[in-house]
Amino acid sequence: MVRRMIPAAVSDPPPSAAASARRFSGHGLVCIRGERIVFANLNLTLAPGEALLLLGPNGSGKSSLLRLMAGLLRPAAGSLAWDDGPVREDPERHHARTRYVGHTDTIKPVLTARENLAFWAKVCANEDDTRATLQARTDAALDRLALARLADVPGRMLSAGQKRRLNLARLLAAPAPLWLMDEPTTALDKGSVATLEAIMAEHRATGGMIALSTHLDVNLPGARVLNLDDFAVDAATAYGLHEDRHPEDLRA
């Protein structure tokens, strides 16, 4: 079993990701890129502990949806909201609750792995996080993703997989309830994928939420599937109102 080869988690309790156990939802989302409607009338909800698996062929809007959920893209129509108010009214609060992992690795070649990670831990930190807390979190995150040995290696010397792991370490170094992950397993070996799956399971067990897009098999037990193809506008069902589906629905 590949999974067993990765040492179990460091004994630290998972960071308090789900400090606010709130639901996140999107209603009637429409995304337009370059005068093309990528998807329309898309609804989604995420409750604490839930995961949403985004599927669909290239160009179906998985990345766009994640960027939209992160707040990088503005929806052409529809809205995103937490339990306590729309995202639009308080984007900073939304940013404090979400972590986005995109295609790029966001690693500065001249900074060491630890400096890279510590920077993101610092800029995403709460006001009341002390320097010691941040440092402990950074070290624990490096440890968890098996980067502790590489902590003082400059970013330019890291391999693609190591860069990706460092980018994922951001999720642990700067905890937030909602993780938006755009093909996070790219460039990862099997062992690292297993570690990532374990980290995601822990995150959900503590009330965290995950929206993840992938081409590969990522083990996300009980995740709901959102097939972006269903919301393409040229599909026969265009402009019908979809609810996001459970795997059971898809089998039917």
């Binding site: 992160a70 707040g71 990088l72 893209l73 503005r74 900073e92 609060r93 940013h95 404090a96 979400t98 986005y100 995109g102 295609h103 790029t104 690795d105 966001t106 690693i107 500065k108 001249v110 900074l111 400096e115 920077f119 993101w120 610092k122 800029v123 995403c124 930190a125 709460n126 006001e127």
Partner: protein
Amino acid sequence: MMGAVLAVLRRDLRLALRQGADSLMVVAFFVITVSLFPFGVGPEMAVLERISAGVVWVTALLASMLSLDRLFQTDYEDGSLDLLTLTPTPTIAIVLGKVAAHWLTTGLPLIVASPLLAVLLAMRPEGYGVLVAAMALGTPTLSLVGSVGAALVLGARRGGVLLSLLVLPLYIPVLVFGVSAVDAAVMGLDFGPQLMIMGALLLATLVLCPWAASAALKQAVE
């Protein structure tokens, strides 16, 4: 919020120090370009002295602009800009941190180098102090105005040329009052009003430019 701004400032300073060439290049450009003028217009002291303030200021403007394209470009290319706009800190504050780092790594060296170049151009000694004071007020304004341009040209091809077209016209007020302050000091006139206007320009850009730049950055990451 202050913590995040300082973190951005520290990171950008660290990046600039580790790839030290950038900062050095700006000063080298400043020094070399200014020292071309005595060759071009001839070594008559009277002529050099007459144009000294203008030459130092125009060259400082160009040198400051030269380094602008790296203000957001690398962060834009490696995806850091996406994440910076997604932090709980307002983007305006992030911009302020980055501009402060830009000024410390380019504006400050220009201020230090300017009196030496004034000597080279035979400026009268009464002008040195005012030149430094005017540069101290003017160079942060240049960095602030430049940040708007740098944010607007993100993603554009040949952004560097476009940037100079956008930014140089906006540098004119700083140039006019910067030169005028030094000229007034050399002629023994009151230079207070010019410095005050430069201070006012700095305060106005301090309020407006981070706001405009952050709006442009949000457009750029879309």
